[in-house]
Symmetry: C2
Subunit: 181 residues, 2 copies
Protein backbone atom coordinates (compact mmCIF):
# COMPACT_ATOMS: atom_id res chain seq x y z
CA UNK A 1 0.00 0.00 0.00
CA UNK A 2 1.56 3.22 -1.19
CA UNK A 3 1.85 6.23 1.06
CA UNK A 4 -0.62 8.08 -1.12
CA UNK A 5 -3.20 5.30 -0.90
CA UNK A 6 -2.82 5.22 2.87
CA UNK A 7 -3.38 8.97 3.00
CA UNK A 8 -6.51 8.83 0.84
CA UNK A 9 -8.12 5.87 2.61
CA UNK A 10 -7.46 7.17 6.12
CA UNK A 11 -8.65 10.67 5.15
CA UNK A 12 -11.80 9.28 3.55
CA UNK A 13 -12.52 7.36 6.72
CA UNK A 14 -12.05 10.43 8.95
CA UNK A 15 -14.05 12.76 6.70
CA UNK A 16 -16.88 10.24 6.49
CA UNK A 17 -17.00 9.55 10.21
CA UNK A 18 -16.49 13.03 11.64
CA UNK A 19 -17.22 15.45 8.81
CA UNK A 20 -14.86 17.47 6.63
CA UNK A 21 -14.58 20.70 8.58
CA UNK A 22 -14.47 18.90 11.93
CA UNK A 23 -11.47 16.84 10.88
CA UNK A 24 -8.20 18.71 11.50
CA UNK A 25 -4.99 18.40 9.54
CA UNK A 26 -3.43 17.12 12.75
CA UNK A 27 -5.88 14.22 12.93
CA UNK A 28 -5.32 13.54 9.23
CA UNK A 29 -1.52 13.39 9.51
CA UNK A 30 -1.75 11.13 12.56
CA UNK A 31 -4.25 8.77 10.90
CA UNK A 32 -2.11 8.60 7.76
CA UNK A 33 0.95 8.08 9.97
CA UNK A 34 3.02 10.68 8.18
CA UNK A 35 4.45 14.13 8.78
CA UNK A 36 2.48 17.23 7.81
CA UNK A 37 5.31 18.07 5.38
CA UNK A 38 4.66 14.85 3.47
CA UNK A 39 0.90 15.33 3.53
CA UNK A 40 1.20 18.83 2.12
CA UNK A 41 3.63 17.65 -0.56
CA UNK A 42 1.14 15.03 -1.73
CA UNK A 43 -2.19 16.78 -1.32
CA UNK A 44 -1.29 20.45 -1.54
CA UNK A 45 -3.55 21.40 1.33
CA UNK A 46 -6.85 20.50 2.94
CA UNK A 47 -8.95 21.46 -0.08
CA UNK A 48 -6.68 19.41 -2.34
CA UNK A 49 -7.01 16.46 0.02
CA UNK A 50 -10.82 16.68 0.04
CA UNK A 51 -10.73 16.87 -3.75
CA UNK A 52 -8.44 13.84 -4.01
CA UNK A 53 -10.58 11.84 -1.57
CA UNK A 54 -13.73 12.61 -3.56
CA UNK A 55 -12.09 11.70 -6.86
CA UNK A 56 -10.86 8.38 -5.44
CA UNK A 57 -14.26 7.63 -3.96
CA UNK A 58 -15.96 8.46 -7.23
CA UNK A 59 -13.79 5.89 -8.99
CA UNK A 60 -14.46 3.27 -6.34
CA UNK A 61 -18.22 3.88 -6.16
CA UNK A 62 -18.67 4.02 -9.91
CA UNK A 63 -16.90 0.68 -10.18
CA UNK A 64 -19.16 -0.78 -7.50
CA UNK A 65 -22.31 0.19 -9.38
CA UNK A 66 -21.02 -0.73 -12.84
CA UNK A 67 -23.80 -3.27 -13.38
CA UNK A 68 -26.31 -4.14 -16.10
CA UNK A 69 -29.68 -4.32 -14.35
CA UNK A 70 -31.78 -2.52 -11.78
CA UNK A 71 -31.68 -5.58 -9.53
CA UNK A 72 -27.89 -5.67 -9.63
CA UNK A 73 -27.80 -1.91 -9.01
CA UNK A 74 -29.77 -2.18 -5.78
CA UNK A 75 -27.81 -5.27 -4.75
CA UNK A 76 -24.62 -3.27 -5.23
CA UNK A 77 -26.05 -0.46 -3.10
CA UNK A 78 -27.02 -2.86 -0.32
CA UNK A 79 -23.53 -4.27 -0.38
CA UNK A 80 -21.91 -0.84 -0.39
CA UNK A 81 -23.97 0.28 2.60
CA UNK A 82 -23.23 -2.93 4.48
CA UNK A 83 -19.48 -2.49 4.13
CA UNK A 84 -19.28 1.31 4.23
CA UNK A 85 -22.06 2.19 6.65
CA UNK A 86 -24.87 4.68 6.14
CA UNK A 87 -23.84 8.26 6.80
CA UNK A 88 -25.31 9.85 3.69
CA UNK A 89 -23.77 10.74 0.35
CA UNK A 90 -20.21 11.89 1.04
CA UNK A 91 -20.25 14.12 -2.04
CA UNK A 92 -23.35 16.03 -1.01
CA UNK A 93 -21.98 16.26 2.52
CA UNK A 94 -18.78 17.83 1.20
CA UNK A 95 -20.81 20.21 -0.92
CA UNK A 96 -22.97 21.20 2.04
CA UNK A 97 -20.03 21.72 4.40
CA UNK A 98 -18.18 23.86 1.90
CA UNK A 99 -21.37 25.79 1.21
CA UNK A 100 -20.68 25.52 -2.51
CA UNK A 101 -18.01 28.18 -2.00
CA UNK A 102 -14.96 26.09 -2.84
CA UNK A 103 -14.89 25.64 -6.63
CA UNK A 104 -12.55 22.61 -6.55
CA UNK A 105 -14.95 20.77 -4.25
CA UNK A 106 -18.06 21.87 -6.12
CA UNK A 107 -16.48 20.66 -9.36
CA UNK A 108 -15.58 17.24 -7.92
CA UNK A 109 -19.12 16.83 -6.53
CA UNK A 110 -20.87 17.89 -9.71
CA UNK A 111 -18.59 15.72 -11.86
CA UNK A 112 -19.48 12.74 -9.72
CA UNK A 113 -23.19 13.45 -9.84
CA UNK A 114 -23.10 13.83 -13.62
CA UNK A 115 -21.34 10.45 -13.91
CA UNK A 116 -23.78 8.95 -11.43
CA UNK A 117 -26.76 10.18 -13.45
CA UNK A 118 -25.23 8.89 -16.69
CA UNK A 119 -24.65 5.48 -15.11
CA UNK A 120 -28.29 5.18 -14.05
CA UNK A 121 -29.43 6.37 -17.48
CA UNK A 122 -27.34 3.61 -19.04
CA UNK A 123 -28.79 0.91 -16.79
CA UNK A 124 -32.37 2.09 -17.33
CA UNK A 125 -31.75 2.10 -21.06
CA UNK A 126 -30.43 -1.49 -20.87
CA UNK A 127 -33.54 -2.40 -18.90
CA UNK A 128 -36.18 -0.74 -21.09
CA UNK A 129 -34.53 -0.60 -24.50
CA UNK A 130 -32.98 2.40 -26.18
CA UNK A 131 -36.19 3.54 -27.86
CA UNK A 132 -38.52 3.63 -24.90
CA UNK A 133 -40.15 7.07 -24.60
CA UNK A 134 -39.95 7.24 -20.79
CA UNK A 135 -36.22 6.73 -20.33
CA UNK A 136 -35.63 10.19 -18.93
CA UNK A 137 -38.46 10.04 -16.41
CA UNK A 138 -37.51 6.57 -15.25
CA UNK A 139 -33.87 7.56 -14.91
CA UNK A 140 -34.78 10.54 -12.77
CA UNK A 141 -37.08 8.40 -10.62
CA UNK A 142 -34.49 5.68 -10.05
CA UNK A 143 -31.93 8.37 -9.24
CA UNK A 144 -34.32 9.90 -6.69
CA UNK A 145 -34.97 6.46 -5.17
CA UNK A 146 -31.24 5.83 -4.77
CA UNK A 147 -30.49 9.27 -3.32
CA UNK A 148 -33.46 8.78 -1.04
CA UNK A 149 -32.41 5.37 0.23
CA UNK A 150 -28.90 6.73 0.83
CA UNK A 151 -30.32 9.52 3.00
CA UNK A 152 -33.09 7.49 4.63
CA UNK A 153 -30.71 4.62 5.48
CA UNK A 154 -29.01 6.96 7.97
CA UNK A 155 -32.01 6.75 10.28
CA UNK A 156 -34.17 3.94 8.82
CA UNK A 157 -31.44 1.39 8.15
CA UNK A 158 -31.06 -0.83 5.10
CA UNK A 159 -34.83 -1.42 4.91
CA UNK A 160 -34.95 1.91 3.08
CA UNK A 161 -32.88 0.40 0.27
CA UNK A 162 -35.10 -2.67 0.07
CA UNK A 163 -38.21 -0.49 -0.14
CA UNK A 164 -36.61 1.66 -2.83
CA UNK A 165 -35.69 -1.46 -4.76
CA UNK A 166 -39.30 -2.68 -4.67
CA UNK A 167 -40.55 0.72 -5.80
CA UNK A 168 -38.04 0.76 -8.66
CA UNK A 169 -39.07 -2.72 -9.75
CA UNK A 170 -42.73 -1.73 -9.81
CA UNK A 171 -42.01 1.50 -11.72
CA UNK A 172 -40.03 -0.39 -14.34
CA UNK A 173 -42.68 -3.10 -14.70
CA UNK A 174 -45.44 -0.54 -15.00
CA UNK A 175 -43.49 1.46 -17.58
CA UNK A 176 -42.92 -1.72 -19.62
CA UNK A 177 -46.64 -2.50 -19.44
CA UNK A 178 -47.69 1.01 -20.51
CA UNK A 179 -45.51 0.89 -23.60
CA UNK A 180 -46.85 -2.56 -24.47
CA UNK A 181 -50.40 -1.23 -24.79
Amino acid sequence: MSIKTKLLTSAERLFDQHGFMSTSMDQLTKAADMSSRTLYKHAGGKTGLVQAVLTARDKRFMQAIDVQSIDDLFAALQNWTLTEGARGCLFLRAYGEAGGETPEITDAVMAHKAAFHAQIARIVKAELGANHPDLELLTEQILVLIEGSTSAAIYRGTDAITSAHQAATLLIAQTRKDSGI
Copy 2:
Protein backbone atom coordinates in the same frame (compact mmCIF):
# COMPACT_ATOMS: atom_id res chain seq x y z
CA MET B 1 -39.71 40.58 15.53
CA SER B 2 -38.16 39.59 18.82
CA ILE B 3 -34.43 39.47 19.33
CA LYS B 4 -34.60 35.69 19.69
CA THR B 5 -36.51 35.27 16.43
CA LYS B 6 -33.97 37.45 14.65
CA LEU B 7 -31.15 35.31 16.04
CA LEU B 8 -32.79 32.05 14.98
CA THR B 9 -33.72 33.17 11.47
CA SER B 10 -30.37 34.75 10.68
CA ALA B 11 -28.51 31.74 12.12
CA GLU B 12 -30.65 29.32 10.11
CA ARG B 13 -29.86 31.28 6.97
CA LEU B 14 -26.10 31.25 7.62
CA PHE B 15 -25.98 27.57 8.61
CA ASP B 16 -28.00 26.63 5.52
CA GLN B 17 -25.93 28.70 3.12
CA HIS B 18 -22.41 28.12 4.43
CA GLY B 19 -22.60 25.04 6.61
CA PHE B 20 -22.62 24.70 10.40
CA MET B 21 -18.93 24.32 11.15
CA SER B 22 -17.94 26.92 8.56
CA THR B 23 -20.12 29.57 10.17
CA SER B 24 -18.31 31.35 13.01
CA MET B 25 -19.84 32.87 16.10
CA ASP B 26 -18.53 36.20 14.84
CA GLN B 27 -20.56 35.90 11.64
CA LEU B 28 -23.58 34.80 13.66
CA THR B 29 -23.45 37.76 16.04
CA LYS B 30 -22.99 40.18 13.14
CA ALA B 31 -25.88 38.69 11.14
CA ALA B 32 -28.14 38.77 14.20
CA ASP B 33 -26.95 42.32 14.89
CA MET B 34 -26.28 41.69 18.55
CA SER B 35 -23.35 41.37 20.92
CA SER B 36 -21.80 37.99 21.61
CA ARG B 37 -22.81 38.43 25.24
CA THR B 38 -26.48 38.55 24.24
CA LEU B 39 -26.14 35.63 21.85
CA TYR B 40 -24.56 33.47 24.55
CA LYS B 41 -27.23 34.46 27.05
CA HIS B 42 -29.97 33.36 24.65
CA ALA B 43 -28.44 30.30 23.00
CA GLY B 44 -25.92 29.08 25.58
CA GLY B 45 -23.30 28.41 22.94
CA LYS B 46 -22.87 27.23 19.38
CA THR B 47 -24.27 23.76 20.01
CA GLY B 48 -27.28 25.28 21.75
CA LEU B 49 -27.80 27.61 18.82
CA VAL B 50 -27.69 24.75 16.31
CA GLN B 51 -30.14 22.85 18.47
CA ALA B 52 -32.50 25.84 18.69
CA VAL B 53 -32.30 26.45 14.94
CA LEU B 54 -33.14 22.81 14.20
CA THR B 55 -36.05 22.81 16.64
CA ALA B 56 -37.46 25.98 15.08
CA ARG B 57 -37.02 24.60 11.58
CA ASP B 58 -38.69 21.35 12.57
CA LYS B 59 -41.75 23.28 13.72
CA ARG B 60 -41.83 25.36 10.54
CA PHE B 61 -41.31 22.43 8.18
CA MET B 62 -43.79 20.18 9.94
CA GLN B 63 -46.38 22.93 9.67
CA ALA B 64 -45.63 23.31 5.95
CA ILE B 65 -46.25 19.62 5.27
CA ASP B 66 -49.27 19.29 7.55
CA VAL B 67 -51.53 18.20 4.67
CA GLN B 68 -54.04 15.44 3.96
CA SER B 69 -53.02 13.95 0.63
CA ILE B 70 -49.96 12.83 -1.31
CA ASP B 71 -50.64 15.47 -3.95
CA ASP B 72 -50.72 18.22 -1.35
CA LEU B 73 -47.58 16.82 0.26
CA PHE B 74 -45.57 17.11 -2.94
CA ALA B 75 -47.09 20.50 -3.69
CA ALA B 76 -45.93 21.64 -0.25
CA LEU B 77 -42.45 20.32 -0.97
CA GLN B 78 -42.29 22.13 -4.30
CA ASN B 79 -43.33 25.31 -2.57
CA TRP B 80 -40.81 24.85 0.24
CA THR B 81 -37.97 24.30 -2.22
CA LEU B 82 -39.02 27.29 -4.30
CA THR B 83 -38.90 29.64 -1.32
CA GLU B 84 -36.05 28.02 0.64
CA GLY B 85 -33.79 26.77 -2.12
CA ALA B 86 -32.35 23.29 -2.56
CA ARG B 87 -29.28 22.66 -0.42
CA GLY B 88 -30.29 19.29 1.00
CA CYS B 89 -31.92 18.34 4.29
CA LEU B 90 -30.56 20.73 6.94
CA PHE B 91 -31.06 18.11 9.65
CA LEU B 92 -28.98 15.45 7.91
CA ARG B 93 -26.38 18.06 7.09
CA ALA B 94 -26.12 19.00 10.77
CA TYR B 95 -25.87 15.34 11.69
CA GLY B 96 -23.14 14.78 9.11
CA GLU B 97 -21.12 17.80 10.13
CA ALA B 98 -21.26 16.90 13.80
CA GLY B 99 -20.35 13.32 12.93
CA GLY B 100 -23.10 12.11 15.25
CA GLU B 101 -20.80 13.03 18.13
CA THR B 102 -22.87 15.84 19.64
CA PRO B 103 -25.80 14.22 21.49
CA GLU B 104 -27.91 17.42 21.55
CA ILE B 105 -27.70 17.69 17.76
CA THR B 106 -28.22 13.97 17.17
CA ASP B 107 -31.31 14.12 19.38
CA ALA B 108 -32.78 17.10 17.54
CA VAL B 109 -32.17 15.43 14.17
CA MET B 110 -33.60 12.07 15.17
CA ALA B 111 -36.62 13.69 16.82
CA HIS B 112 -37.34 15.53 13.59
CA LYS B 113 -36.92 12.43 11.45
CA ALA B 114 -39.24 10.45 13.72
CA ALA B 115 -41.88 13.19 13.41
CA PHE B 116 -41.30 13.36 9.67
CA HIS B 117 -41.82 9.61 9.33
CA ALA B 118 -44.96 9.75 11.45
CA GLN B 119 -46.35 12.57 9.33
CA ILE B 120 -45.89 10.58 6.12
CA ALA B 121 -47.39 7.50 7.74
CA ARG B 122 -50.44 9.57 8.66
CA ILE B 123 -50.89 10.90 5.12
CA VAL B 124 -50.43 7.47 3.55
CA LYS B 125 -52.99 6.08 5.95
CA ALA B 126 -55.44 8.82 4.99
CA GLU B 127 -54.79 7.98 1.33
CA LEU B 128 -55.11 4.17 1.52
CA GLY B 129 -57.33 3.64 4.55
CA ALA B 130 -56.26 2.50 8.00
CA ASN B 131 -56.65 -1.20 7.25
CA HIS B 132 -54.56 -1.49 4.12
CA PRO B 133 -51.86 -4.17 4.54
CA ASP B 134 -49.13 -2.22 2.73
CA LEU B 135 -49.16 0.97 4.81
CA GLU B 136 -45.66 0.46 6.16
CA LEU B 137 -44.08 -0.29 2.80
CA LEU B 138 -45.80 2.64 1.12
CA THR B 139 -44.82 4.98 3.93
CA GLU B 140 -41.17 3.95 3.63
CA GLN B 141 -41.28 4.35 -0.16
CA ILE B 142 -42.84 7.83 -0.03
CA LEU B 143 -40.29 8.80 2.63
CA VAL B 144 -37.48 7.59 0.38
CA LEU B 145 -38.92 9.52 -2.57
CA ILE B 146 -39.07 12.73 -0.54
CA GLU B 147 -35.57 12.34 0.91
CA GLY B 148 -34.38 11.55 -2.60
CA SER B 149 -35.97 14.55 -4.23
CA THR B 150 -34.55 16.76 -1.47
CA SER B 151 -31.05 15.47 -2.22
CA ALA B 152 -31.42 15.23 -6.00
CA ALA B 153 -32.91 18.74 -6.26
CA ILE B 154 -29.48 20.09 -5.25
CA TYR B 155 -28.07 19.15 -8.66
CA ARG B 156 -31.15 18.20 -10.74
CA GLY B 157 -33.43 21.07 -9.76
CA THR B 158 -37.13 20.91 -8.96
CA ASP B 159 -37.73 18.36 -11.74
CA ALA B 160 -36.57 15.78 -9.21
CA ILE B 161 -39.57 16.61 -7.05
CA THR B 162 -41.98 16.36 -9.97
CA SER B 163 -40.56 12.95 -10.91
CA ALA B 164 -40.81 11.76 -7.33
CA HIS B 165 -44.42 12.96 -7.21
CA GLN B 166 -45.28 10.96 -10.35
CA ALA B 167 -43.58 7.89 -8.89
CA ALA B 168 -45.51 8.27 -5.64
CA THR B 169 -48.80 8.64 -7.50
CA LEU B 170 -48.15 5.46 -9.48
CA LEU B 171 -47.10 3.51 -6.38
CA ILE B 172 -50.25 4.57 -4.54
CA ALA B 173 -52.50 3.75 -7.51
CA GLN B 174 -50.87 0.36 -7.96
CA THR B 175 -51.18 -0.44 -4.27
CA ARG B 176 -54.87 0.50 -4.38
CA LYS B 177 -55.38 -1.77 -7.42
CA ASP B 178 -53.57 -4.71 -5.82
CA SER B 179 -55.74 -4.62 -2.74
CA GLY B 180 -58.86 -4.37 -4.89
CA ILE B 181 -58.13 -7.72 -6.50
